[in-house]
Symmetry: none
Subunit: 190 residues, 4 copies
Amino acid sequence: MSAARRGRPPAGPERRDALVSAAYERLAEAGFEGLRLRDVAAAAGIDHSTIHHHFATKQDLVVAVVDHTTRQFWSTTPPDGGPADRLRRHLATLGRKIAEQPELHVVLRELDLRARRDPELRTIIAAREEGWRDSLRTLLAAAAEAGALVTGVTPDTGAELIIATVKGASLTPDRALNVLELLERLLIRA
Amino acid sequence: MSAARRGRPPAGPERRDALVSAAYERLAEAGFEGLRLRDVAAAAGIDHSTIHHHFATKQDLVVAVVDHTTRQFWSTTPPDGGPADRLRRHLATLGRKIAEQPELHVVLRELDLRARRDPELRTIIAAREEGWRDSLRTLLAAAAEAGALVTGVTPDTGAELIIATVKGASLTPDRALNVLELLERLLIRA
Amino acid sequence: MSAARRGRPPAGPERRDALVSAAYERLAEAGFEGLRLRDVAAAAGIDHSTIHHHFATKQDLVVAVVDHTTRQFWSTTPPDGGPADRLRRHLATLGRKIAEQPELHVVLRELDLRARRDPELRTIIAAREEGWRDSLRTLLAAAAEAGALVTGVTPDTGAELIIATVKGASLTPDRALNVLELLERLLIRA
Amino acid sequence: MSAARRGRPPAGPERRDALVSAAYERLAEAGFEGLRLRDVAAAAGIDHSTIHHHFATKQDLVVAVVDHTTRQFWSTTPPDGGPADRLRRHLATLGRKIAEQPELHVVLRELDLRARRDPELRTIIAAREEGWRDSLRTLLAAAAEAGALVTGVTPDTGAELIIATVKGASLTPDRALNVLELLERLLIRA
DNA sequence: CATGAATGAGTATTCATTCAT
DNA sequence: AATGAATGAATACTCATTCAT
């Protein structure tokens, strides 16, 4: 009713989301280095000064993008099944997502680097990653108890290895699926 | 008369190297996002417009930094010994270097991301990485022939897994050593 | 229903006064240079776009502030008594007011300067000042007739001297009282 | 030889002075409220970004203007003669300068107000004014010793009265001369 | 009356690059 | 080679004002 009255200004609250999405896309295309509020506004179809009505500062928009991006990754996590199977599916899902949606993981790597110099982002990203790490540890502990894990792999280092490999694999998306398949075979007993 | 007046301005040709080193350090600290020619010049102790006598454009300096950085990484590669041992030493050396010299690997990740949008850097970096990949493949093929490799690992995917894990591990330097140790145990037969 | 919900939004007509007072205070604190409608609105506890329901333009609000401020100063004038005494009391009152309420006189000086570039303000302020000047002239003429004035002081130049000194003294509020006391002794016969 | 090579860019070091003069003039015309670096640059005939080559920030330029302006006022002070005469000449010179060069004194009043909110300017201006105050006190003390001063005027309050009156008189330049003449007659014994 | 969203002209500042010396 | 002055396009952010609700 109120949206798309004359076709140009979409509406009120969803405008904020449109800005975050546009910023996410610009970040994927151009990196932090090339992230310009003007481009974000243009992509969202609004005047660039209107951005500041929704986000006081560029950093505030970036924080919203971090939230949006890490949340999107989080939805990746698998539901249920046997521990070995769940781990298998988790890695397979990640491998597929990296191949299908490479920008998401590229942006996540961009955020990892930016977080080194930005305490605010560091806090948010560390919290989200900690959630992933915890769920991996739980999964690996269950798999170990079920005797499905290769000997010598503790839940702790196993989780770190998975995190590192997923992150590194996301830098070369077309090879990610194969890499994560091999990792899975190395971790889980035949 | 004016050169080496107080020992500060090194000279003519090594001035170029000083600029590359300064740019590398700025890149490690601030990322591409925060790389300013003025800062680089200041760190090298010269006027910022003098940079253009050594590098026509900022991109030229960046290319030189890429060369400098990837070369530094390359020097990391191990010399000789048995194939399993050489692989072990390679991963151990990398793990140690990441812990000791984290900025080098952070800069390399920065370059990986930048290369996605910059064909010139992509070419250089891909060529250097291809060298690393080749030597890993050779190493893994030798290890496989010696029966030292876990079954199911081909030289191709094994090399990809190592590359991915090393890259991902470099994003959390303090955990890198443990991660690479585990990878090594998973790849090499006891 | 929505008005006076929590006692904060006063009502309809007095809202206008609240805005003028808030603007006066902002002007005292930050000068014309730092006068922002948003700040004024925030200080009055309303949305900044609501200001435009009371004052079509910023200038309109400024005009209202000028009226408010000059009126406040006007109330300063003394009632009655003998001419010399009335003059004495006038200067003493001014000196005290400057010390007690320095912002009022600082704002008046701000207005004097602004009036140089703003014909609308100039007209208003000149009219108000003319009233003060007239009453000073009348007072001085009466004092002269009563023989209470030092020789050589005409009502005209005497009034100008008083006006100039009061204005200048208001720039250093803590010394104003002493300055005006001395002026009084110089003008009035012992 | 180097200046006015093609007529447009005047030269190097005097460019700084040209900017200060231009800023002073803009300040006189538009006040702090209307002081724009773009206008200053345009008045000096250079690109507005070039300003930052000479003054890192707007505040730095303002500080230079304060220095320039207060220095100009200072040069107003009279040389020598008998104490009463020197005081007479000082007030007469000030009265004439205010009438001839009203913008200078308007800018000085602008600075007085700005100094209330700007500690950096406050320090500079207070120091300069203290110099004026001191010289006035010395002058009045000499005049008092010579018996040329009206009874009841101490060097301290006399100096304050002069300062206040000069400041206030500068707000209405065409009446300043008369006001200061009257002040002189009130202070100095016939 | 009141609001929140939107606008657009404007504001200081940044920065790679050019040029004369 | 080196420098300092100059440039101009770009950059985040501001602010009075408008408009639909």
